[in-house]
Every structure is written in C-alpha cells, then in structure tokens.
Symmetry: C2
Subunit: 191 residues, 2 copies
Amino acid sequence: MRRPVPLPQCYRLLNHGPTVLVTSADGARRNVMAAAWNMALDFDPPKMAVVIDKSTFTRELVEASGEFALNLPCRSLAALTVAVGSATGRELSPDKLVQHGLSTVDGSRVGAPLIEGCVGWLECRVLPEPPIQQRYDLFVAEVVAAWADERVFSAGRWRYAPGDDPALRTLHYVAGGQFFATGDPVEAARA
Amino acid sequence: MRRPVPLPQCYRLLNHGPTVLVTSADGARRNVMAAAWNMALDFDPPKMAVVIDKSTFTRELVEASGEFALNLPCRSLAALTVAVGSATGRELSPDKLVQHGLSTVDGSRVGAPLIEGCVGWLECRVLPEPPIQQRYDLFVAEVVAAWADERVFSAGRWRYAPGDDPALRTLHYVAGGQFFATGDPVEAARA
C-alpha cells in the first residue's frame, strides 16, 4: 500500500502542515525524533525545510550523513510521536527505533530508514547552508524520493473525507502531548 | 476578542501548520497574499520562517519595509484565502485588501495591517539573510507581537473541541482551492 509519489507532487504531503518523524542514519547508528517545525520550500526539484536542534542526536547523524527522511505519523501513532520526541536516542542500545518496537524499511535513495505504519515518507538530502544551520538550526533539503499510503493519498491528493477511518488522519502538534487530527475537507470556490 | 499572546507562547499559533495570509506595507502601498509554507523556528525570542516568492508584490514590500504580519484565516475565510492567493496586487488601485472588502487594524509594532475576521496574528520583523532569501525565497523573522481570538485560543492553547463552531477552525492548504479544516483534539499519553 506504500506507493511512489511523483516528485513534483510531493510538496503536497507537507502542505497541510503535519507533524513529522525525522529518521536518520550514519552507518549502523540510527535515530528518530519528532518535528512540528517543517515546511515545503519548492516544487520541482522539490525542497523542504526543517528545524533540527543542536542538542539532538538526530542533528549529529544528519550532519554526518547529509541525509534524513520525513515520516508522517497518523493518529494511531500519536502516543509514539510524543514518546520519540521526549527522550534522546544518543545513549540507547539498541537504538530508539528498536526500543519503541518500530518496523522500518530501507530508504530507496537515502540511508535513513522509513517507519512502517506512517502514511507518507520523504527521502531528503541536505543542501548545505552552514550559516543558517548554525544560527537557526534550520536545514534545507532536496526531496529525492517520496511515498504515500494509497489508502489516504492518491493522484497527488490527500483523500481524507467525512466518515473514513480516523486512525489514518495525519497529526498537527499543539504542545504538551496534544495534537489536532487533520480535519475534513473545505472546498473554496476560486474567485 | 483579539487578545495579546505572550511572545514565548506565540509559536503555538503556527505549530499545527495552518495556512496564513501575509500582509505587508511600505508607506501607503499595502498587500496581502496566502502562504501555506510557513513554520515556527524558535521559542524565545520567537522566530518563524516563511517562503515569499520573488515574483510577488509582497516580496517587494517586505524587502522595502523589513516587516510583515501573518494573519491566520479561519474556515469562513477559505474562499477569500484562495482569492488573495490567486492574483497579484502589484497593479491594483485601490489595493488588494480594499478590493476584497477586508477590514484591517494597524499592527502594534509593524506597519503591516492585521486582517479582521482572522483568528491569530503575528507581527514580524525580517532577520536579514540575503543568501537564503535569494536562493530559496526563504525569509526568517522575529515575532515582535502576537494576538489571537480568545474564542479559539486562550492560555497558550487552541481550544478547538468537538461540536464547536466549525467556521472558526483554522485552515490547512492542500492544492487547487481545497483545504482541510483543523480537526478535533488527539490527546497522546506521554510515554
């Protein structure tokens, strides 16, 4: 049910502002963290931006490998998203993914793993911008592959509709362990 | 009903990934555009990032003034949000805000107007980063004042709950005139 998303459409995975899980790997070292602060940055070639704090183990792995993946958790992964965002993976053995019982598949273009049970995935290569990485913890990356769960995203669109399975809605972080689920569609007539 | 938001809490206005309306002014020239590509960047002092394309009149006003405001439209403004995102204000007289019948109040710390009927507002001063402005149309700014409609945001939290007025939910842009409304709360137990 994981299907490729054509790269010029992959900004639509992030357009509605979901919280993501950032996975990274450098050799055998792997990690996962949560990130509400992400956005699309360009259409084609697709680029995105994400904030990765200096204190995180993810930052170390991303700077070492120049790669990461964004995984879009759905409502059924809300507790997991809070959990992996609440403690560092720096000293963990086995790694944080294993500790939380996460199944992963290999990225197709990057070394970062993709988390099963998520509903969207973007494989990203860092576009090095040392001044803004240092000043703002701000990373810019090119998206080199993208995937989505065809049950909820097809033909370039999220297909969420009233009455469908609420467990598959993406998440929008508020604070303190609270999210909003993605709500129902609003169609606005063009002017 | 527009109440100040303490600056260290203002990232929570953007955390859940809403689409915003960017207002700007340079002297008597004013404009408004829609922007799905925005995110929080830091807590205190609060910073945020937004993409403002080189082709836009907003870009010209933001570069001239060093300021802008983000206005968070709610569901009742969905058609307006598409409309102001679909045509340039460069050659309009009166300006795009007047053409769309928008009422505004003055910003408290910036010259950009604040749009009435929105449910959150962030007044922003550009932190000049010419290389990323030029390469990615990416603007970093400090938030110098923030406001929210107390009916939906109080004590640092969005208060959306099942059964409340759907017209006041914020919007998350998909594509082609379609949004998702912010959905219902999801409480995740901390691990």
